[in-house]
């Protein structure tokens, strides 16, 4: 199907189902139940899941396949956001030209940075990309203010020309982003008993693009090009002595992943039309590295899982505060309750980053393959059990 083998088609299908039914899946608890704080099915957060998923998928094409660890990918995301907002300011509020421009500009930017940075390997490459990204970040804050609007961030105003659209709505407000008239912010809510499910236009557009991005990434992974990228990671010397020029391969991977980042940035601006320099900071670059590694670098689904995982727990953990903790532990004896709360407090609310840091150390130490490897290990555990059961009956062949 679609030029994919059965396994990959199934994977794509699973992701598609998850994306389509996310408003249900992420809202398993009734609105006014105590567990409602674990719901994640509201538009803003779901949009972030898919947008960061796209960002991580793209990053994985570079890092997962070629092994080149870029510490500056947020620069492309930021450039994509700025381009998209400019498109909203100058052309129209339609998201399609904005997203296309975001991809083109970030692609060109990646071509330039990649062309220079890929002359070096290992940590020297990482530092070069970091240097370029920090440069972009700082310039966006200072000299490039006419383009980026400095610290305030680039926003839409009532004076923007929008030559193909309208400068202001009839009521005198700033128009909103749309896809040929379909407003991105529009949300339909479905009530069902105590539950409420929200279906947001913007989310579903991002979701469709995520599926497309994921599909393209599968095709790249399975193509001769993808195989060449893995060969680059494995042994550059042998590549050269097999008559293959590694530079254009890595550059192509770099540009593709830069365009993915630009796409993510463009989508971010399409959901909420503003762009700030902090999106380009190295901490933002670090975040996508974390997502990819946590999910499983070099695997297809890993980056999507990692992005979802980090964004979900970031949201949930940072919402939990002391009173929530008290309500959880109130059944316990006072001393124990206070002790537990004292411990738990470190990890929730603004302490979420502590949890993330610890989790990250644990994953790198014990599960270098990330969540995907964890899943595989559990899967193997079960299949071994099954095999052991079957062994008496038939000779089973080990799964590949």
């Amino acid at each position: 199907m679609l030029g994919l083998n059965k396994k990959d088609a199934t994977l794509l299908g699973v992701v598609a189902v998850l994306v389509i039914f996310a408003p249900f899946i992420l809202n398993p608890f009734p609105q006014d139940s105590a567990m409602a704080q674990f719901n994640a099915g509201y538009p803003d957060l779901m949009q972030r899941f898919v947008i960061f998923g796209i960002f991580a998928i793209g990053f994985n094409i570079l890092f997962g396949l070629t092994g080149y660890l870029s510490f500056g990918h947020a620069a492309f995301l930021g450039v994509g956001s700025y381009s998209a907002v400019w498109m909203f300011k100058l052309l129209s509020m339609n998201v399609i030209p904005a997203i296309l421009l975001a991809m083109v500009v970030s692609g060109l930017f990646a071509l330039l940075i990649g062309f220079i940075s890929l002359r070096r390997t290992g940590i020297y490459f990482s530092i070069l990309t970091l240097a370029f990204a920090e440069m972009s970040f700082r310039l966006a804050y200072s000299v490039l203010t006419p383009i980026t609007n400095g610290e305030t961030g680039l926003q839409l105003t009532l004076e923007d020309p929008r030559i193909l659209g309208q400068t202001a709505t009839e009521t005198g407000g700033i128009p909103v982003t749309s896809l040929f008239g379909m407003e991105m912010r529009e949300t339909a809510t479905m009530y069902f008993g105590g539950w409420s499910f929200q279906f947001n236009n913007g989310y579903y557009m991002c979701g469709v693009i995520l599926l497309l991005a994921f599909y393209i990434s599968i095709r790249i992974f399975r193509s001769p090009f993808g195989m060449m990228l893995r060969a680059v990671k494995s042994n550059q010397q042998r590549m050269n002595y097999t008559g293959l020029n590694t530079r254009p391969y890595t550059l192509a991977a770099f540009v593709i992943s830069g365009m993915y980042a630009g796409l993510a940035g463009g989508l971010m601006a399409s959901m909420d039309p503003l762009a700030g320099a902090e999106r380009m900071q190295w901490t933002a670059s670090g975040e996508v590295v974390l997502m990819t590694i946590l999910g499983g670098a070099g695997t297809l689904i890993g980056p999507v899982l990692g992005a979802g995982f980090i964004k979900y727990f970031e949201n949930i953990f940072s919402k939990i505060n002391e009173s929530v903790l008290h309500s959880w532990f109130h059944a316990l004896p006072d001393g124990l309750e206070n002790a537990l709360i004292w411990i738990a407090e470190h990890f929730v609310g603004s302490g979420w980053h502590l949890t993330l840091g610890l989790l990250f150390m644990l994953v790198v130490t014990f599960l270098p393959g990330g969540l995907v490897e964890g899943g595989q290990r559990i899967g193997r555990l079960f299949s071994r059990k099954k095999q052991a059961d079957k062994k008496t009956a038939t000779q089973s062949t080990p799964a590949e």
Binding site: R222, P224, F225, M227, S234, N240, L244, P248
Partner: protein, 253 residues
């Protein structure tokens, strides 16, 4: 006129004259060995042939074209493949994938953005890789990760990868270094078989006299960066100059 013509090649590293004035002519479809004691400049010479080093003086012509100033991948695309002293393979990839990469390189050249078709649908490439694996007794290991194979199998795979490109010249850099006698003999048989089956020129750099005399049709003896003698193996064996410069030194060591 041989397929490989090395003329007056010299290379200096700082104060060390690694290659003095090397002249070498390798006839097409022959097996030519370059021997010499440690530090004679064998590896430097080889690196000058494949573009890893650029000689200070002289010229290197392959099939009438100069290789100087070209990058290793360009020289490879001209038809020169190299086997390393320690096997250089794609350890993270399967044997099958290892075999397919040179097949792609042969068909598509140094770079092709082939990102749409899947590897599985490249039947022509797969068939070639399969055939080559059959030929080299690697077919049963096709799904193994290359890094997990034995040293002998890695060597075999590396040679197979080079041959899959159908090179006109195969350079072997001490292919039996660090191998046990049995493995060495297997490699000799493998190379003999290869030579029998195809039209290929082989240049082999070797320490082990047993390997050299089993395979080579012509031998060049290199000492201190300059060729001492070049002749057929029978004459090299008893040559006084060689005894003096080469065998004398190995005996002392």
């Amino acid at each position: 006129m041989g397929i490989l013509e090395v003329k007056n090649v010299g290379k200096r590293f700082g104060g060390l004259q690694a290659l003095g004035d090397v002249n070498l002519s390798v006839a097409e479809n022959s097996v030519h060995a370059i021997i010499g004691p440690n530090g004679a400049g064998k590896s430097t010479l080889l690196n000058c042939l494949v573009g890893k080093l650029i000689p200070d003086t002289g010229s290197v012509m392959f099939d009438g074209q100069s290789v100087l100033g070209r990058t290793p991948y360009e020289i490879n695309q001209m038809g020169i493949s190299r086997v390393f002293q320690t096997p250089e393979i794609f350890g993270d990839l399967t044997v099958m994938e290892n075999m397919m990469i040179p097949c792609f390189a042969r068909r598509d050249g140094a770079f092709k953005l082939n990102g749409i078709k899947s590897v599985e649908s490249e039947t022509e490439i797969r068939d070639r890789a399969e055939a080559m694996m059959e030929d080299m007794n690697l077919a049963e290991k096709r799904h193994m990760h290359a890094a997990s194979m034995s040293r002998g199998d890695k060597r075999r795979l590396e040679i197979a990868m080079c041959l899959a490109q159908e090179p006109r010249l195969l350079l072997l850099d001490e292919p039996t270094a660090g191998m046990a006698r049995a493995d060495t003999n297997n490699t000799i048989d493998l190379l003999k078989e290869i030579k029998q089956k195809r039209d290929i020129t082989i240049v082999i750099i070797e320490h082990d006299m047993h390997v050299v005399f089993s395979l080579a049709e012509r031998i060049t003896v290199l000492a201190q960066g300059t060729p001492l003698v070049e002749d057929v193996p029978e004459k090299i064996k008893g040559h006084p100059k060689v005894r003096e410069a080469y065998l004398g030194e190995t005996a002392a060591a």
